[in-house]
């Protein structure tokens, strides 16, 4: 069974009447890394938002199956508990809530959902310290309020750290590379690579090919005008880097005209 099957997905922003996603089809299997690339306004963030359960978007047609079940009827917290993780493009600052308690609440909510015993403070700290080591992160981060006063790079690393602790089956990285300098980018990519394994699927949403030098995808899909207009291997990303998005958009338009 596929981990994720997106079939003819159409969606619009609740605030507007324009359709943003116009029929997406995508299948992701365990262990695979898929990159979704596309110019601004192509629908990348909408797709990520729909998968995470953002209320700002409404699905008008099509379906999304996660492990064979309808994903779209689940609340955001239920999706997380079932193993979906989204690394935010803009991680949210939560003043007054320490990282450590935030994560403990998340881990125990997920454990409870699976009928597992909640972790006490000691076991939880042990888990967290082990993950910090994998990501070469400083422990002082734990006692700071979630993302508050973090630099752009720290925020993105914190996302990957959360991913490591929550151990999802499917991770969606929404423009995790945006705003990062090359050192921070490498750092984040190393963290993601350390979490790659045969059971975990990862969807990397990005505008630039740069991140894909470090997180090498198995598949690359190009999103344009709310549709996947081309899919290929990692070499497709290199071609996009060289030639830009223009030619693909032009081809897609031509194809649409011919089709019509």
């Amino acid at each position: 069974m596929s981990m994720l099957e997106i079939k003819n997905l159409h969606a619009r922003a609740v605030a507007g009447d324009k359709e943003i996603l116009k029929g997406i089809d995508l299948t992701v299997n365990p262990g695979e890394v898929h990159a979704i690339m596309g110019p601004n306004g192509s629908g990348k963030s909408t797709l990520a938002g729909v998968l995470a359960g953002r209320e700002a978007y409404e699905v008008t047609e099509g379906e999304v199956l996660y492990e064979g079940h309808n994903l779209l009827e689940l609340d955001p917290e239920e999706r997380a508990r079932e193993g979906i993780f989204m690394a935010f493009q803009y991680p949210v600052e939560i003043p007054g809530v320490n990282n450590i308690y935030f994560l403990k609440a998340a881990v125990n909510a997920i454990r409870k959902h699976h009928g597992e015993e909640e972790l006490d403070a000691i076991d939880f700290m042990a888990l967290v310290k082990e993950k910090l080591k994998i990501l070469h992160m400083d422990q002082s981060l734990l006692n700071r309020p979630v993302n508050e006063g973090f630099s752009g790079g720290e925020k993105k690393r914190n996302e990957i750290f959360q991913m490591a602790v929550l151990d999802p089956k499917l991770a969606i990285l929404d423009e995790t590379d945006s705003g990062l300098d090359i050192d921070a980018l490498r750092n984040v990519a190393d963290g993601v690579n350390a979490l790659r394994n045969k059971d975990r699927a990862i969807i990397v949403v990005t505008h630039y090919q740069r991140l894909l030098n470090y997180i090498v995808p198995d598949y690359v899909h190009v999103l344009s005008g709310g549709r996947i207009v081309r899919s290929g291997g990692k070499e497709l990303a290199l071609e996009l880097e060289k030639r830009g998005y223009g030619w693909i958009e032009a081809e897609a338009k031509k194809a649409a005209l011919v089709g019509a």
Binding site: A52, G53, R54, E55, D75, P76, E77, R79, A80, R81, F85, M86, F88, P91, V92, E93, I94, P95, G96, V97, Y101, F102, L103, K104, A105, A106, V107, N108, A109, I110, H113, A121, P145, V146, Q162, L166
Partner: protein, 448 residues
């Protein structure tokens, strides 16, 4: 509706009766002060909602209750019953007052440095009336303040604290004003006078407390004077009965380079008005006024603060936060005056209110009056619900919506509590948040 005039007459009659009984026992200046105060109260009467400073705070419920002066011999309370209002683990000098009167059998002093005076106001008036008279009612004007006039007219007891020059008092001084009204509604008039000499330093905790179900009225006035370079860390912890009325006026006078920081935490009371006026009267002074209030049911909590920058190079910071549930009503008024001489003033004011229900209500009003040109004054107010982005972020990590709301609500309140420097006070108030906020026990479990 009972006429306010009728109610006023009751207080005037109480005053006349008490003056007859106490004739000749007080120093002449005090008798004159009381008479001046009752005369002013008689002229002012109780404020109505036509009065600009009371527009949003309707005191009609207070005027409907026939309060009786607390008996001269207060109820004998067991120390055990006070435990809920003390701070476990806090090594402090603790004076307990029952219905405004000093209760020596419940109080503990411990070591105090040489020259430090901590005693009841009644004792101080007896022992050294001149020293008290030099300060008493010199800061708490009652020209326009009916309730301050009323307190002054009835003032008899309370606390007197005096720190000599250069003395540092390490242990906090806790003034615990407890009210009881087991049979009929009572009124008390606690009065606190706190004089910090030049270069002295101390922590003052004022508690006002009572037991739920009992109806009483606390009309308190506190005067705090900071000499040059003095440092006072002040806490007001209000845990009055949920049926009680509390109207208080605190006046703070800061001399050159002194530092006053106050945290006012209101957890109880049916109708509460905390008035604070701080005057930065010398160059380089610093004043912090922070506050947190929680109200539910149909309770009303009103915080009226004023910081008066009279001299140059002074700094003031102010953060007030409120959490209102059910049909509770909050009022915040934050005045900042910057006088013509007060160049280089740096004043910052923030007021944030969290409304947990659609029927809760807040009236918030920053009021900046600036008469100097080289100053920095900022203010900001937010009113509303929890941050939707933060909620979604938490849910996207698996945290249920209700728990996410509860965690964010606690975080909102703990921003003020976490600034409390006295650990046992902080711990006790954090515990109070767990008890009072929705889902508090689950949050407590999480933070363990």
């Amino acid at each position: 509706m009972i006429g306010t005039i009728e109610t006023k007459d009751t207080y005037l009659a109480d005053f006349a009766r008490r003056e007859r009984e106490a004739a000749g026992r007080a120093p002449a200046w005090l008798t004159a002060l009381r008479q001046e105060a009752i005369a002013r109260f008689g002229e002012l009467g109780f404020p109505t909602r036509h009065h600009e400073e009371w527009r949003f705070t309707n005191i009609a419920p207070l005027l409907e209750v026939p309060f009786h002066p607390a008996p001269a011999e207060p109820e004998r309370l067991m120390l055990e019953r006070l435990r809920a209002f003390t701070f476990p683990g806090l090594d402090c000098c603790q004076l307990v007052f029952v219905n405004g009167r000093y209760a020596p059998e419940l109080s503990t002093f411990g070591y105090l440095p040489e020259g430090v005076q901590v005693l009841s106001l009644a004792e101080a008036l007896e022992a050294e009336p001149e020293a008290v008279g030099a300060h008493l009612a010199r800061y708490a004007e009652f020209e326009q303040q009916a309730f301050t006039a009323l307190n002054t007219a009835f003032l008899e007891d309370g606390a007197f604290v005096s720190l000599p020059r250069g003395v540092i008092v390490e242990r906090p001084i806790h003034l615990l004003y407890v009210s009881t009204a087991p049979e009929k509604p009572t009124v008390s008039y606690p009065r606190t006078l706190f004089i910090a000499g030049e270069n002295s330093q101390a922590t003052l905790i004022e508690s006002y407390a009572g037991w739920d179900g009992e109806v009483y009225f606390t009309n308190a006035v506190t005067e705090i004077v900071l000499g040059e370079n003095a440092v006072v860390d002040h806490y007001k912890v209000l845990r009055e009965s949920l049926q009680a009325f509390h109207i208080a006026d605190m006046r703070v006078h800061l001399e050159r380079t002194s530092n006053f920081a106050s945290h006012s935490i209101t957890l109880g009371g049916a109708l509460v008005r905390n008035e604070v006026y701080a005057r930065l009267n010398g160059e380089g002074g610093e004043c912090t006024l922070n506050g947190l209030y929680l109200a539910n049911g149909r309770r009303l909590v009103d915080n009226h603060t004023a910081i008066d920058h009279a001299m140059p190079n002074c700094t003031s910071h102010e953060v007030y936060k409120g959490i209102l549930d059910d049909r509770a009503h909050g009022v915040f008024n934050g005045k900042i005056f910057v006088r013509p001489d007060a160049q280089k003033t740096d004043a910052k004011q923030t007021n944030k209110t969290l409304l947990l229900s659609e029927d809760a209500q807040i009236n918030t009003k920053p009021q900046l009056e600036i008469f100097a040109d080289d100053v920095r004054c900022t203010h900001g107010a937010t009113v509303g619900q929890l941050d939707e982005d933060a909620l979604f972020y938490m849910r996207s990590r698996g945290i249920g919506e209700e728990q996410a709301r509860n965690i964010l609500t606690f975080a909102f309140a703990s921003e003020i509590i976490s600034r409390i420097k006295v650990e046992p006070v902080r711990a006790q108030l954090e515990q109070a948040l767990f008890e009072q906020l929705p889902g508090g026990h689950e949050t407590e479990e999480l933070l363990k």
